[in-house]
Structures are given as structure tokens and as C-alpha cells.
């Protein structure tokens, strides 16, 4: 585990690592993980007619969310939008107005926008300052992601297990690399506007597990970056990490089954 604060290396460089030391592409682990999880599903009596849907946030439900107000959600969405723009070489003239204009163009649902418009001037100004600060931290840390790395932003996954009895949903803010390389090349990055806490380990393991199940290939590494503190946590993905992710999931699903 590596926690670093404002190191000179960019996120791009840290996600890439040293290409010469990459392990070979692992396609044999995924079927085993799937079988283990399907055993868990069978053991808990889950059925496709009443599917259980999980997200990474649910696994750390014991942790009280720092903020869950509409403004906090809007802040997160705007920072994610800013990431999409920055990764694809769109210069941001205003770190708040530009992501806001871009985000508005994608929305059919105007709930958050209405909440923003209805908020008093003080709240609006605070959100603007907040977003500008987070985007500024992100821009400084990001580095350059060449096109050959195939960077994809806002990647959604939805893995069905046991015929849909258990649904694992996940959102990855940035995914680079390809699953077709001879060597492990896929790196996942999650951007959070909250400080990194103990629960981020669960989140990273969950991202790695869902991606492995989805593509059938074990990713190279998974990372989470906090735009609040500029801290970055990076984990190499290996069998041990994936097994811990399965245990996390089994424990959580087991708790739910007992509660039911």
C-alpha cells in the first residue's frame, strides 16, 4: 500500500508504473471468482426474482457519509465531468462554469440543477469555490494520458451473478489500458471529493473484483485519488486482493441474509 501526498509523479505516471515489470495477462482467475460468488449467492438463498443489487458505497455502509446533500452530489458530478474534459484535452477556462455547462447538456433530470438554482447565494458561492478548488487539485495531479493508453472516462459496469440473483454495479471514473494486451495493462482510477479513509480499501477491492468479473481479465492496478487532500492510494491487483474482495462481499451478503 502506498499513500503519498503531493508527490512529483503525476497520476498518469503512477498508474502506468514500469511497463517492463508487468505480469502476464491473467484470464484464469475470473471463472474461479465467479464460481465462489455463485456459491455465496446459493448459500444465502438469493433468487433472480428478488435480485440484490450492490454498489461499492453499500459495502462501507457502516461509515457515515461525510456529506450526502444535493450540493455534495453536484460537486462530485462536476468534478467527474471536469475529469472527462481534462482527459480528452478540453481546456477549462473556468473550472466551475465549464463542467457545469457540459454536465447540464447531458441531463434529462433537472433535480440537482433545480436544487442549485434554489439555493441561496452563499451556498452557490461555496459550491463554486469548492468545485474550483477540487478541479484545480485534479488538474495539477493528473498528468498526460496518451491516446494509445485508450483512456475511457465514466465507465459503468453491471455484472450479473447466478442468473441475476446478485447484481454488482460499479462506476469507474477513469480506465486506461486494454484487456487484449499480452501483459496486464488495465488500470482503474476512482476520483473522490472526500478525504481517503479506511473504507477506501474496500472500494478499491470492489472495483478490481467487478472489473475482473466483467472483462474476464485481472486488472493491473487500481487507484483512488482524493481531490480534497491530493492523497492517492494505489494497489496492485493480485489474487490475494481479489480473494479479500470476495470475502468482503460474502460477509456483506451474509449479513443481509441474516438480517432478512
Amino acid at each position: 500500500m502506498t499513500i503519498s501526498t503531493a508527490t512529483p509523479l503525476s497520476l498518469a505516471a503512477r498508474l502506468r508504473g514500469t511497463p517492463a515489470t508487468r505480469p502476464a495477462r491473467d484470464t484464469v482467475t475470473a471463472p474461479g471468482l465467479r464460481a465462489q460468488l455463485e456459491d455465496v449467492v446459493a448459500g444465502c438463498g438469493l433468487h433472480p426474482s428478488t435480485p440484490l443489487t450492490l454498489r461499492s458505497g453499500l459495502l462501507r455502509s457502516s461509515v457515515v457519509p461525510l456529506e450526502s446533500s444535493p450540493m455534495a452530489r453536484l460537486r462530485g458530478l462536476l468534478v467527474t465531468t471536469a475529469l472527462s474534459l481534462l482527459i480528452h484535452d478540453q481546456p477549462l477556462e473556468d473550472p466551475f462554469e465549464d463542467p457545469m455547462a457540459a454536465w447540464c447538456s447531458t441531463q434529462g433530470d433537472t433535480t440537482l440543477l433545480t436544487a442549485f438554482a434554489a439555493a441561496d447565494a452563499d451556498v452557490q458561492a461555496r459550491l463554486q469555490a469548492d468545485v474550483r478548488s477540487h478541479v484545480s487539485v485534479l488538474r495539477d495531479a493528473l498528468g498526460a494520458f496518451p491516446s494509445s493508453w485508450r483512456p475511457q472516462t465514466a465507465v459503468r459496469s453491471q455484472v450479473l451473478l447466478s442468473g441475476g440473483a446478485l447484481v454488482l454495479r460499479d462506476d469507474i471514473d477513469l480506465m486506461v489500458g486494454s484487456v487484449t494486451d499480452r501483459f496486464a495493462a488495465l488500470s482503474l482510477l476512482d476520483i473522490t471529493t472526500a478525504p481517503l479513509g479506511d473504507a477506501v480499501e474496500h472500494t478499491l477491492r470492489y472495483h478490481a473484483l467487478v472489473q475482473t468479473l466483467r472483462s474476464g481479465v485481472v486488472p493491473l492496478r487500481v487507484a483512488i485519488f482524493s481531490t480534497a487532500t491530493a492523497d492517492c492510494l494505489i494497489r496492485e491487483v493480485d489474487t490475494e486482493l481479489l480473494q479479500r474482495a470476495v470475502r468482503d462481499l460474502a460477509a456483506f451478503v451474509g449479513t443481509l441474509a441474516v438480517a432478512a
Partner: protein, 266 residues
């Protein structure tokens, strides 16, 4: 009617392509005429457009189409992916070139009002940036899917369009790649999200539209739907049963559409 499910990995796709039936059924002139008569019996006052998405939603509750970065991405991203075949260029640059060409067509008066070019030419730079981001994401996903399907996969330049004679109906069949061998043709379609309960009906719809769009009515040996977000693949074979089911689903969708229009007008 069999719907085959596999994982979205090289080995499974290679097996699906390899085991595709050596022969495929074809739609003859009489069947085309019969299909046209069935659709003509569902009257419409304006041209209706039917595709697999509409069939999957049983013709219900369809929001009017509007351009958004997410609806523009496939058109732009696919055009960029076409140009990138064997060309080592930056994806973002190619996507921007494609967007520029759309805008030039709009500004020079070659594009109709409401077209993609018109919409793009009215966007603020930040929104245009998000269009670039979405199209680049799609382009990467398409190229990645092409690599997983295998070396024989060729990107399709356009979807299949088929106008049903005298029925004021345009059918649009979605397709992203084809794998052509001397004996057979396999078509691959890439979709986001997770396949729903009506995914099979959607695939059969695309299968029959693809066959109708073929000059000799020859169906693809196998039609494969790929859902990278879920890591899943579904496929249907080009049998007459599947073609008939696809055609019936299209007629049913037209009937539901007609009923909805009449209900709204009443």
C-alpha cells in the same frame, strides 16, 4: 428459437463465430411483399421509424429524440474508429476532425435543420468538449470490442436501413462489425448497459432488418449482441424461425405505436 449466452471474452466469441451455421436462410420476394402488406395494414399519417430499441420497449413511452453528448457519441465515435483502422493517430484528434466536418457541413448549408451538424455548431466549447469525451470513449470501446472479436472483424460504415415499400416505414438495423468468411457472414452489434428480458427480440429485429437490407435477402449466419458493460454476449442464428419472429415483432411494434398515437389524439 435459441438465444445463446456467453461471456465477452476472446475465446467465447471465437467459438461463437467458428460454430456459426454454414448456411443461412434468405427472405424471398414473396416474403418481402407479405411483410410490406402486413405493415401497410397498420396505417400511419407520417413516416414511422422502427428499430430494435423500439421493439425492446414494445413501442411504448418513447421520449422524443434530442441530441445530447450520449446520443451523438456513436455516430462520431464510429466514424473516428473507421478512420483509425491501421492509422496510428490520436483518437481525440480524429474525433475532433469528424466533429469539424459535421460543423462545416452545417455551416455551408448542406445539413438539414435539427441534424447533428446543426446541433454541434450551436454548442458552447465545454459542451463540445464533453461530446469529444463521449465520442472518444465510444471509439475506444468499439476498437477494444473489435480486438476481442478478433482479427477478422471489420467495422461497419453505417447501420442497415430498409424502407418498406408503400408502408411509409423505415427500419433501422444496428450493426457495428461484420466477420465475413467465404461461407458465412456474422454480424456483431455493441450495446451499453445490460441485456434486458427483451434483448432476444431486439437481436432478432436487427437480424431481420439486416437480411431485408441484403440485396438477395440472405440472413447473417449468426447475429451477435455484445454488452461490454456487463461482459455478456447474446446471439441468435439466421434461421427462418428467427427471421419470422423478428418481422412479427416489428409489425407488433407498429401496431402499438399506432394505438398510442390514437390514444394520445383522443
Amino acid at each position: 428459437m435459441k438465444l445463446t449466452q456467453r461471456r465477452f471474452i476472446n475465446e467465447d466469441l471465437a467459438a461463437l463465430i467458428e460454430t456459426a451455421p454454414a448456411t443461412a436462410d434468405a427472405i424471398d420476394a414473396e416474403q418481402r411483399r407479405s411483410f410490406s402488406v402486413r405493415l401497410r395494414s397498420v396505417p400511419t399519417t407520417q413516416t414511422r421509424r422502427i428499430d430494435a430499441w423500439l421493439v425492446e420497449h414494445a413501442g411504448h413511452g418513447v421520449r422524443p429524440f434530442s441530441w445530447r453528448p450520449s446520443t451523438a457519441r456513436r455516430l462520431i465515435g464510429t466514424a473516428a474508429a473507421q478512420r483509425l483502422q491501421g492509422q496510428p493517430q490520436r483518437v481525440t484528434d480524429v474525433v475532433r476532425d469528424v466533429i469539424d466536418e459535421y460543423m462545416v457541413r452545417a455551416i455551408s448549408g448542406q445539413a438539414r435543420f435539427g441534424s447533428l451538424g446543426h446541433w454541434l455548431s450551436g454548442l458552447a466549447p465545454a459542451t463540445l468538449g464533453l461530446v469529444v469525451a463521449e465520442a472518444t470513449n465510444w471509439c475506444h470501446q468499439l476498437l477494444e470490442s473489435q480486438a476481442i472479436v478478433g482479427a477478422g472483424a471489420t467495422l461497419c460504415a453505417a447501420d442497415t436501413y430498409y424502407n418498406v415499400n408503400a408502408a411509409q416505414t423505415t427500419l433501422r438495423g444496428r450493426r457495428d462489425m461484420t466477420v465475413v468468411t467465404p461461407s458465412q457472414r456474422v454480424v456483431v452489434r455493441v450495446r451499453h448497459g445490460v441485456p434486458g428480458k427483451s434483448a432476444g427480440a431486439g437481436l432478432r429485429t436487427d437480424l431481420v432488418i439486416d437480411a431485408l437490407g441484403h440485396p438477395d435477402g440472405i440472413s447473417a449466419a449468426r447475429f451477435i449482441g455484445v454488452w461490454p458493460d456487463a461482459g455478456l454476449v447474446l446471439s441468435v442464428d439466421g434461421t427462418m424461425d428467427n427471421l419470422r419472429a423478428g418481422a412479427r415483432a416489428i409489425v407488433r411494434t407498429a401496431v402499438v405505436q399506432r394505438r398510442e398515437i390514437l390514444t394520445a389524439a383522443a
